[in-house]
């Protein structure tokens, strides 16, 4: 079981190369952020697979990674708004 879980984690890590390609190509800032979020969700999956293969306390790492990805998206939206601090819904 351990080797199966580790192989899946490696495959998942390799697939994130596709996301890196999208970060590189863009073209919009939002496209790059989408790819970064893909790496975030992929990272959560990888850490969880490693947690099951080695040590369950790594679940906390996955938890923090998931929360940080959400914070990154909020920071991105704020930085992209007209005055760099605002609510993206303001007119």
């Amino acid at each position: 079981m351990t080797s199966w879980l580790i192989s899946l984690a490696v495959l998942l890590l390799l697939s994130l190369g596709g996301a890196l390609w999208r970060v590189w190509r863009g073209p919009e800032p939002a496209d790059r952020m989408i790819a970064a979020q893909l790496i975030g969700t992929g990272g959560v999956g990888i850490v969880l697979l490693l947690a099951a293969a080695t040590d369950w306390s790594m679940i906390d790492v996955a938890l923090v990674l998931a929360l940080l990805a959400a914070v990154a998206a909020v920071a991105f939206a704020k930085a992209q708004s007209a005055d760099s601090v605002g609510d993206p819904e303001e007119e």
Binding site: D60, L63, P88, E89
Partner: protein, 151 residues
């Protein structure tokens, strides 16, 4: 009265969260962390209407099923060599308070073919993967379900 019930639910949420995170240990730290987190959370986002647990649980199986369909739908379109997507926008008025609108938008973003992008003069902006499908009827149903969860 509604406000108190809503605030109490927030505190209970943080209590359960602490219990799960700490695996039932470090209760002394929790005794400080839970009130502090509750205070900060209620200050940043005052509770107005309580969340009802039963309607929330009742809509969960349907939500999970439809988000599975959402994943299948988008995966099928991505892997099909012809890549059948026909994207477009729809706008429709929603009759939910602000928090409910965000929840509806988040839910729609996980359902097949729809993606919310906030509101424009009170109308929800929804991006759809196939503009020939009838999404408006489904959105109405989800809106009604969510309306019963909070209030």
């Amino acid at each position: 009265m509604k406000k108190h019930a809503a605030s109490a639910r927030r505190v209970i949420f943080f209590l359960v969260l602490w219990f799960v995170l700490s695996e039932g240990e470090a209760l002394l730290v929790g005794a400080a962390a839970v009130p502090a987190a509750s205070w900060l959370s209620l200050r940043l986002l005052p509770a107005t209407r309580p969340i009802h647990l039963l309607p929330l649980l009742a809509m969960t199986p349907n939500f999970l099923w439809r988000s599975l369909l959402g994943g299948l739908d988008v995966g099928r379109r991505a892997l099909d060599p012809r890549m059948p997507i026909n994207p477009g926008w729809i706008r429709l008025p929603v009759d939910l308070p602000d928090g409910g609108r965000v929840a509806l938008g988040g839910e729609l973003s996980l359902m097949p073919g729809t993606l919310a992008a906030g509101t424009d003069r009170g109308r929800l902006l929804v991006h759809v993967l196939d503009k020939d499908q009838d999404h408006a009827r489904m959105i109405r149903i989800e809106e009604r379900r969510l309306g019963s969860v909070s209030g």
